[in-house]
Symmetry: C2
């Protein structure tokens, strides 16, 4: 009987649709949908672009999967499966309606659960424009604490999904929630071919002026080096949620239009909405205004929204006296309409940090919050890039590329999720932070396994007889002095071959530190034993640290074999016993060919640095201090918390209450000074032979709150430099931003928080300069931090923080994290000259893309091993030109012959006349030794559209900025790909700080 | 461009459906729906009937329209438009799913807003059984405070809507929220052809025993007089909401079945649900268990429910080890399955009052709450029945029946809404109570206008020349001594013709009281001046009351003309000046042919009543008292409130603190004693010439809370009768229920609330008996109250209540209502003999269906008026047989020739051997003088199904009850309609307390 009913029902549906001609098709089942078609923007009225959207945080109060399936809705909003279920249904029910979707991490989950038939219908919605992907990254990434590699990756994962499934490419950046906006984000979006960047949160003082002066829209020059990536930017009138009173899904009064019922309110509601639309419009220059309808995790019951918007729209559009044309729109439709107005727009050249939403609330805490997670994200970024590279460079021996790609997809996706603006930012609940870490760990493990196989097969590539690939292992926690892989060295006769991978495009000479359990070891490469140094672990009773200089070819590896040398002491292995320093000793001096550093023997503290080449010296001191997080005060109850840094005082307190224990070990490979206060506060200085930087390794945390008081720990550097209230910080690891104390480029700052209003994000590099003496002190860091220069010659960076109150921005719990971090900083003191960037950019590249060690074990001695296995490997014919970075090298999914290659010129136009950045010329065709490049196609940055097919909207700016752009490109003319059929070369030119993206088809040389 | 998109989309949809064959049709767009078809109940496993439902209160915390369109969802759940929108969509998306809908007040609102195409699709869902109407009244009516006329009406409005639009008839009673269940409800549902009655709330002690003993299902004999209306009754295991943990719409953990995501929980959730289902099943006798999925205003986002139920069902049914067969079911499918088990069921013969949900919470307050609303509902019931009748009886002169029906539809619907279990029950918020009153008032006005026209045309029917119909007006507040229509009597020469309508089937002789502004009047009918009495208004300084005996034909009217007689005093008009009674006077005695009543001159209080015919006398006293509503105490915080009557003490306090002023006016038509304490407490006794009852009019309220204390006001009667802890109350105005102090028929009562656990609803009649002396004291009341007999010879009834705390059952505000009521009671003291029911049933009929007066004005004197206009009218050929009530007489919508006639035998089998109820014989064909009856079809009670086509499910009961039924029908054999073609007669027989429903087609005699 039930089967019969089913058939009957479907017979009815089929009849209904079959008997409908195309012309009549618009008379659908649903009232409102057979109303006159809503017209596109009109010139004579105010066009109100209703943008139906949902802001789906990829984790925050719940984990990403919990948000997806709707766990614990009683306490936390968010069930994305229902949002997509019901919104799609509503789009199918009325072809006038539009909806945008942003976060592909969620859309992908949903898509994979749909039937093929449903997927077809959704595809038709995308084709018709009813459903539009906006932004389209895997998440909506944070802009303060993300590294540009990771931004590009997460956008690419999302865009690739959209391209693969729908054949379309998003056109608009939509970052309506991140807490401040970076210059890099703007220029990266430009490089992705986006027509505009729509943002939600800007400083409360900034927006007040922009509202007043109709400056809510402008052209943003995110990169001085590459004005071609200028992007039109629109600030939302009042954040991204539905205007007050019209959130039909959350209890605001529905449209009551049925005259048979009480409470008919259509006119009243229309009047109210019209007033809002007209007010919004007063702040914008065209006759278009964008009004978002949605909020966090909206449209879980899409019918409530769409049904009422339909009615509101119908009523207002049927009453011309309103002078309004309401349309279901999208950001791209809105931007097209604004562009057509053909106005001349202002240009903004600084960024949007820091962000404050009231005088007491500078969102500068999250630059630092959860530094362990920030570090883990950066480590996995490095691993992912190594793995992606290895899958390509090891390709000749990979029978099934796709299975390897599948193995690294979990890490791609976990990294995509981790870039979310409540993930790496540290502004999620603790359990959610743990979830990100767990996802990264799962991806990490799967990726290491894949790498294992590739490396193993590369090792055996050149062997004369078939060899089993050796079992590889990794030491994930190298920097905390533990490496199980080397524990076998306690057995004499067992050797540990270490395969050191270099993901940079240039041969690398760099010291590596490896924890070992015994002192008597030798290190060999294929040429024999190399010099090394062994030092007892100064901050633990366990083991030793082995240090040696490695040389590794570009995108390749070198093998170093560590052997237990038994009772013999090798002359090539220098054993250095640390000495405890007594306070009364004379100053300690570390020096090498480039730099000399003086430390105070009483404290171990740094006193001065001398650049030996130039002879310049500065006085310098460094100390650990902490700010007291506000618990609220009489001015405002606002506490310091996960988002907000609000110190009680304008000065920090000394963090080092314990007596410091100072030890020094000075060998010829590395000189090490260790300052030990407690297991939760250790500082190690290292000066390696032949390098100009001083390396500092700091162990911080868990922060002690046994006194019941939270703390925000900084490292404060004071120097004799005259820095004129100015300092510089990078933007997501890219172009440097000039920062001036208590100053904003575009408005007169009303100073209310003289510490935290100066904090800005540092992702990789920060420096201070003495422009009179032409001296610069640069800090290269291993993860995102916040920092500021609050006094002359001063630079401080916050390392860790622990706050005991929630800061009222939704996370609902204190950022009371008891993690320990071990963080590395490279300090370089150097003159300001035309090589200024090479002093820090290259070392930053090294720190961001460290040598990746893989371990195995063997019973062979070094020479036997070297006879059997490939000791070194590089897929390149030669080093890339200096300054050219292989930003990405990865297979395109589901292909066996197409790779994405992104090449970046790491140097920027910096505005200092003395420096002349290069345009780097390069022939892609000759790049790989083992691959024939058969075609090269330049793509947009997210690699989903041919660059030549993308015509970004043009925006007029005032002539000053237009001229600057033209002048620049006269100085640094770059050409698109130039193919020479005769020589089979594919020559490119990469201008300052540009990233060029190519799809390359290849065949293997070996076939 | 957008038109093109639309066409594309629809082309896709059409192709999708068109290319689908019927066999393949089940592969729909949605996952889960192409799973194997869920099979009907199986014998070898436990069949778990998932009933997806929503309980949509027709007003409660919000008004009915506010609930419909979803006003103020932030604070109060409920937006029925979304429930129906999304549930229908979900049914269309998966043909396995089922959903039931109950409240037609909402469904009708929704239906009227749909497109024709959508209506067609919904119709297909009803035909296929995916959408089933259950219960199907306009609302889910209260059972304690409703009058049976109104229950029948509201069920008919709903059933008629369903029949008209879908051609189906509901089969199951579904009262899963009302606060106690009445015997009448059960038998009325039986008479409607229902197969079962499913209920939710029964007493906590009762359900404990039933759960223990698997007595959750049984046959309920609601009417001892008509066991043919026995109905199978099923009590829900745990009320009507989704089992704990599975409310997927309100935050309970969704099914997570995607192996690519974290937190997969399908097995865990299935285990949890299986445990619940198995526990439920232990309390029922068959291998079927009904589990509701839904709650108040559920399925606003139906996708959340259905998607997860699909997954739960799929998982459990795919794992046979659970031993469960989950099916989307409905109450009718469940009941069919239970019936097939063919078990022998217990029979219950008492009702479910009172209801307590814990030892401190007897829901006996709402029997009385908002007595003004209860009175207004009853008044409008009377009006509606008069109007329905008049539209039929006046039909010969009505050109357009439908327009008149349209005029009374608002009152039909407002009455339908007012029967809701949070409407007339008084358990709604104050603003919602106001809304019900406003809806009734709107319906009232429209109905009066329609009546006006009909009456006006009837008045002129017999006139010799064309006459304009006189303008009619009504005095809605006759009982508060104000009648604007008679104010013109201050002008000598102006007369006020009063048209008195009698809706009963028998000629009526009854006194009427009419407020008039002057004393000197005469009253005439067509035969000349009639005797009357004028008495100054004793409780106000304004005006007089005119009293005279009216004689009115059945279903017709008589006209009485009141004239200002100028200075002349008419001998036919007796003027009686009230006398103030001094306390020292001798007792006051009122007497007529039937009864003698003695009052104490000191207090005006009643002292004794003597039945003159039998010579019996009893001592009697009456006083006003009040209980103190609990504010919570050490035993429980439970306060007394809108639902719950919880007095602080087991005894009431004296309510009359003021000095009483007693006045008496004794005329030959009526003797009146007035006791005046204050404007908020007035008691009037009236004894009319020639009637056996003493009428009491009580003005109560607003209840004084100036002392900050709420009060629950009772009238307490103490008599010399030996009542043996027993009293009787009616059931919705129908069969009398025997009540015994602190006793329950079916379980041993644990007494925790010795006052409120004895309170039961009184809708029309309550009496106490002295069975030794064969004496009975009967109270006939004008609206629903609560009452109890707490001592020997005592009967108390609560008249009004005002409580200052909310009682925690959701209404969220105190029942702090400042209304005044004027309520009428008829007291009859009589022997218990075989005419015992005629002593109160007929007088109750009179009080429930009072003479309906309509006023006009004229400059003619009475004789001129009587020459021009019809003075009396009746559509009947003769009086109906004694005891036969025209329960309804109304047109069937959209027909000009079909009427619904319900005829009721008002006497019951009462179990007292001395009384022998009649089977009333009647010929419908000869009933109307002006109509030819051309066909008669007997219908079920809600008039939507032919009785002969309804085959109610048969249920075996134990032989005792089967035998009792057979014995009864041997005593009172009744036949169905018997048509004699020769004599053109349609003879029927109506057994004790049966209501027979007929569809009658008619033609007018006059054509």
């Amino acid at each position: 009987m039930m089967i019969k009913q089913t058939l009957l029902l479907f017979a009815t549906i089929i009849l209904l649709f079959s008997s409908t001609t195309l012309i009549e098709a618009r008379k659908t089942l649903y009232k409102g949908s057979n109303k006159p078609k809503i017209e596109p923007p009109e010139s004579s009225v105010l066009n109100v672009h209703i943008v139906a959207h949902t802001h789906d945080d990829v984790g925050w109060l719940k984990t990403v999967d919990q948000y997806y399936y709707g766990y614990n809705l009683t306490n936390f909003n968010g069930g994305v499966q229902y949002t997509l279920d019901t919104a799609i249904t509503c789009l199918l029910q009325n072809p006038n309606r539009r909806f945008i979707y942003v976060e592909i991490a969620y859309f992908q989950r949903w898509w994979n659960e749909q039937t093929v038939e449903m997927q077809k219908l959704v595809t038709s919605l995308v084709k018709s424009g009813q459903l539009e992907f906006i932004n389209g990254g895997y998440c909506m990434n944070d802009e303060a604490t993300t590294y540009y590699d990771d931004i590009i990756d997460q956008m690419t994962v999302g865009h690739q999904f959209i391209l693969d499934n729908f054949g379309v490419v998003p056109k608009i950046g939509w970052h309506i929630d991140p807490f401040g906006h970076s210059s890099s984000q703007a220029s990266l979006f430009g490089a992705m071919g986006f027509d505009a960047f729509i943002i939600g949160r800007i400083d409360y003082q900034d927006i007040a002026g922009r509202l007043e002066n109709k400056q809510m829209e402008f052209v943003w020059r995110g990169s001085k080096s590459q004005p071609k990536y200028d992007i039109f930017t629109s600030v939302l009138r009042a954040m991204y949620c539905t205007p007050n009173g019209f959130d039909f899904e959350q209890g605001d009064t529905p449209m009551q239009t049925d005259p048979n019922l009480f409470d008919v309110n259509a006119q009243q509601r229309a009047d109210e909405f019209a007033a809002i639309a007209l007010e919004y419009a007063t702040h914008y220059q065209t006759n278009n205004v964008l009004i978002p309808f949605g909020c966090d995790f909206a449209y879980m019951n899409a019918q409530m929204y769409f049904k009422n918007i339909d009615k509101l729209m119908d009523y207002i559009n049927s009453n011309p006296q309103y002078g309004l044309n309401l349309i279901y729109s999208t950001p791209s439709i809105y931007i097209d309409a604004v562009n057509k107005a053909n106005l001349v727009w202002d240009v903004k050249t600084d960024d949007f940090f820091p962000y404050a939403d009231d005088p007491y609330s500078y969102w500068t805490g999250y630059f630092v919050s959860r530094p362990a997670l920030k570090g883990y994200v950066r480590q996995n970024s490095q691993l992912l890039h190594v793995a992606e590279q290895l899958l390509v460079t090891g390709q000749a021996d990979i029978p099934n590329v796709q299975s390897y790609i599948d193995s690294i997809m979990p890490l791609r996706e976990a990294m995509g999720e981790a870039q979310h603006h409540d993930a790496v930012s540290g502004t999620e609940k603790q359990v959610v932070a743990d979830d990100y870490a767990a996802r990264l760990a799962i991806g990490n493990t799967a990726t290491l396994n894949a790498m294992n196989n590739v490396l193993g097969s590369l090792l055996t590539t050149n062997s004369l007889k078939p060899l089993a690939s050796p079992a590889m292992s990794f030491c994930p926690f190298l920097n905390i002095s533990v490496c199980p892989a080397t524990s076998v060295l306690t057995n004499h006769g067992t050797s540990v071959p270490v395969i050191l991978y270099n993901q940079l495009g240039q041969t690398r000479f760099e010291h590596v530190n490896i924890p070992i359990p015994v002192a008597n070891v030798t290190v060999s490469d294929s040429n024999g034993i190399v010099r090394s140094q062994v030092t007892p672990n100064s901050n633990s009773s366990l083991g030793y640290v082995l240090t040696f200089l490695a040389q590794i070819p570009p995108l390749g590896f070198s093998t170093y074999i560590i052997e237990n040398s038994g009772q013999e002491e090798s002359t090539m292995t220098e054993y250095v016993e640390p000495k405890m320093i007594k306070p009364s000793s004379s100053n300690i001096i570390f020096a090498n060919q480039f730099v000399s550093v003086t430390f105070d023997s009483a404290t171990g503290g740094i006193m001065s640095i001398t650049n030996i080449s130039s002879g310049d010296q500065i006085q310098i001191s460094q100390q650990y201090m902490f700010y007291l997080p506000s618990l609220g005060d009489s001015a405002s109850g606002q506490p310091s918390g996960a988002y907000i840094f609000r110190p009680i005082n304008t000065y920090p307190f000394n963090y080092n209450n314990q007596t410091v224990k100072v030890t020094v070990s000075q060998g010829s490979t590395v000189q090490v000074l260790t300052r030990y206060w407690s297991p939760t506060m250790i500082q190690i200085f290292r000066l390696y032979d032949g390098v100009p930087y001083l390396e500092i390794e700091e162990t911080v945390g868990p922060i002690d709150i046994s006194d019941g008081i939270g703390k925000e720990v900084i490292t404060q550097w004071n120097t004799s430099l005259n820095t004129k209230q100015t300092w510089w910080t990078d933007s997501n690891g890219q172009e440097m931003q000039e920062r001036v104390y208590n100053f904003r480029d575009t408005w007169d700052l009303n100073v209310t928080q003289p510490v935290s209003d100066n904090y800005v994000p540092i992702n990789a590099i920060s420096y201070i300069q003495d422009t009179e003496k032409n001296l610069q002190l640069t800090f290269v860091v291993d993860r995102s931090r916040g920092g500021a220069s609050l006094g002359n010659g001063e630079l401080e960076m916050m390392l860790h923080r622990r706050t005991l109150l929630d800061d009222w921005r939704g996370v609902g719990e204190p950022m009371n994290e008891s993690t320990q971090i071990v963080t590395t900083t490279r300090v370089i003191f150097h003159p300001i000259n035309d090589q200024v960037q090479s002093y820090y950019r290259y070392f930053a590249q090294e720190l961001q893309h460290p040598i990746y060690p893989t371990f195995t074990q063997s019973n062979m001695d070094a020479s036997v091993w070297n006879n059997l296995y490939s000791g070194t490997y590089s897929p390149l014919t030669t080093d890339l030109p200096y300054g050219l970075k292989v930003q990405s090298l990865q297979w395109v999914d589901d292909t066996q012959d197409t790779i994405v290659l992104r090449l970046e010129n790491i140097f920027q136009v910096d505005g200092i006349d003395t420096y002349d950045p290069v345009v780097i010329n390069f022939d892609i065709a000759g790049m790989f030794s083992y691959l024939n490049v058969t075609s090269v196609t330049e793509m947009t940055l997210s690699s989903v559209a041919k660059l030549s097919s993308v015509n970004r909207l043009q925006w007029q700016t005032n002539s000053e900025y237009q001229q600057a752009k033209e002048d620049l490109y006269k100085l640094y003319p770059t050409k698109d790909l130039e193919i020479n059929d005769q020589t089979n070369s594919f020559n490119i030119q990469v201008g300052p700080m540009d990233i060029r993206t190519y799809l390359i088809t290849v065949t293997s040389n070996s076939i």
